[in-house]
Point group: C2
Chain length 227, copies 2
C-alpha cells in the first residue's frame, strides 16, 4: 500500500461506492480499490464497518476509517477545495442534500436494490432465477423516477440547480448500476438521457463503465458514450 | 403565522422530527408545530415534500421549504452558530455523521419502524391487532442496539466522542419513540440508561416527553426523568 493512499472497499455494482468514486475523481483524489462482497460478512470487514456495508474508505498510514457514503462525501467535501459539489447558499446546499437522500434512499429502494437482488445476488450468491414480478415492478418504478428526473431537468440545467452537484453524482451512480442490470429503458426520457449522456463522457465516469461484475454482462448500450 | 417563524410538519412519534426539534431546541431556534400524518398522503403535503415524509421545515415568509431530516440538520448547523452539534475535526465530523446514519437507518429499520407499524399504525390506521412475532423481533433487536450504545458509552462520554453531538440527538430521538411504544427494556443496560437519563432532564427534551400520540399511552417510566 502506498503511503497516505485512500483505499475503497467496494464491489463494482455498489451504487454508493460509485457515488464516492465519482466525487473523488471529480476532485482528483487518487484511490485504490479493494474488492469487498458485503454479503460474505467477512470478519475483518465487520471490524472496519459494523454496518457491514460498502463503501468503506481507509487511509491506514493516517489511521483513518470512514463509513456511510454520505458521511464520506461530506468529509471529502470538507477536506478538498477542488470542484465543490455541495455548494451555494445554505438553501441550495439543503436542496442538494435532499436530492442525494432521494436517490440514495428512494431510487435505491425502488429500483437499484431489487435489481441487485434479482439480477446479481440471485445469480452469484443464491443460484436462483430472478422473480419476474419483482423485476417488472422495479422497471415500472424506474420509469417513474426517470419522469422525475425529466421534470427536474426541464426546469434546471442540473438536478439541484445551475451547477453540477453531489445530487447529480448520486443520481448517476444509481442509474449506472440500474442501467448495467438492464433496468433502464431510456425511450421517452430525452431530458434524462441527455443529462446522463453528459456524465457518461466525463473522465470521472469512464473507469466505472469499463468494469464488469464477474459473469454478469451489461446491455450493449451501457458503456457506449454515444448511446 | 408569525413573520419568519419556522413551522415543522410532524406527528408526535416521528423520530426524525424529534431529532430536528431537539437540535432546534439546543440551538434556541423557535418553531411552531403543524400536525401531519404522512400516511394520509395529503395533497398539500405531497407538494411540500414529494417523498411524503416528515419532518418538513417551512418558513413561508422567506419562501423556504426544507425536507429530509439530515439535510435539515445540516442546514440548521450551517445557519446557526449556537451549540454546534456537528463539531470537531473532519474525522470527528465523519464519525458523528456515521452514527447519525446508523440510528436513522439501522435503529429505525430494526426497532422504531416495526414498533410504529405494530403499535401505532395498526391501532390508529388499519384497526388491526399487532403481530406478536414482529414485536418480539423488534424487542430483541432493541437489546442488541442497547448493547451497542453501552459499548460506545464505555469508551466515550458521548456517543461520538468527548462532546454531545447530533449523534446523541439522533439516538435519543429514536430511543424516545421506541420507549414510548414499550419497546425498550433498560434492565442490564446501565450505561445506556444513564446516558439517556441525562437527555430526559434536558430542557430540549421536556416538550417531547409531555406530548401524547392520540389514544396511545406510553408506559409509566417514559416521562419520568428519574426512571
Amino acid at each position: 500500500m502506498k503511503q497516505g493512499m485512500w483505499q475503497i472497499y467496494q464491489f463494482p455494482l455498489c451504487p454508493f461506492s460509485r457515488k464516492v468514486r465519482l466525487l473523488m475523481a471529480e476532485k482528483s483524489i487518487p484511490y485504490e480499490l479493494i474488492r469487498e462482497n458485503p454479503w460474505e460478512f467477512r470478519e475483518e470487514f465487520q471490524r472496519l464497518n459494523p454496518a457491514v456495508r460498502t463503501p468503506v474508505l481507509c487511509d491506514e498510514a493516517r489511521g483513518i476509517t470512514l463509513a456511510d457514503s454520505r458521511a464520506i462525501c461530506e468529509y471529502l467535501e470538507e477536506t478538498s477545495d477542488k470542484n465543490p459539489m455541495i455548494n451555494g447558499t445554505a438553501t441550495n446546499r439543503a436542496e442538494i442534500r435532499r436530492l442525494v437522500a432521494h436517490f440514495d434512499e428512494h431510487f435505491f429502494a425502488d429500483v437499484t436494490m431489487p435489481l441487485l437482488e434479482e439480477r446479481m445476488k440471485k445469480r452469484l450468491v443464491y443460484r436462483q432465477s430472478p422473480d419476474s414480478r419483482a423485476l417488472r415492478e422495479a422497471l415500472r418504478r424506474a420509469h417513474d423516477h426517470l419522469y422525475g428526473i425529466d421534470h427536474l431537468i426541464d426546469n434546471r440545467p442540473w438536478l439541484a440547480g445551475s451547477t453540477m452537484s453531489l445530487a447529480d453524482l448520486a443520481a448517476a451512480a444509481q442509474l449506472s448500476v440500474a442501467d448495467y442490470l438492464g433496468g433502464i429503458d431510456w425511450n421517452g426520457h430525452e431530458q434524462a438521457r441527455d443529462w446522463y449522456a453528459v456524465f457518461k463522457s466525463r473522465p470521472s465516469f469512464r473507469p466505472l463503465l469499463s468494469e464488469r461484475m464477474d459473469v454478469i454482462q451489461p446491455p450493449a448500450h451501457y458503456a457506449d458514450v454515444n448511446a
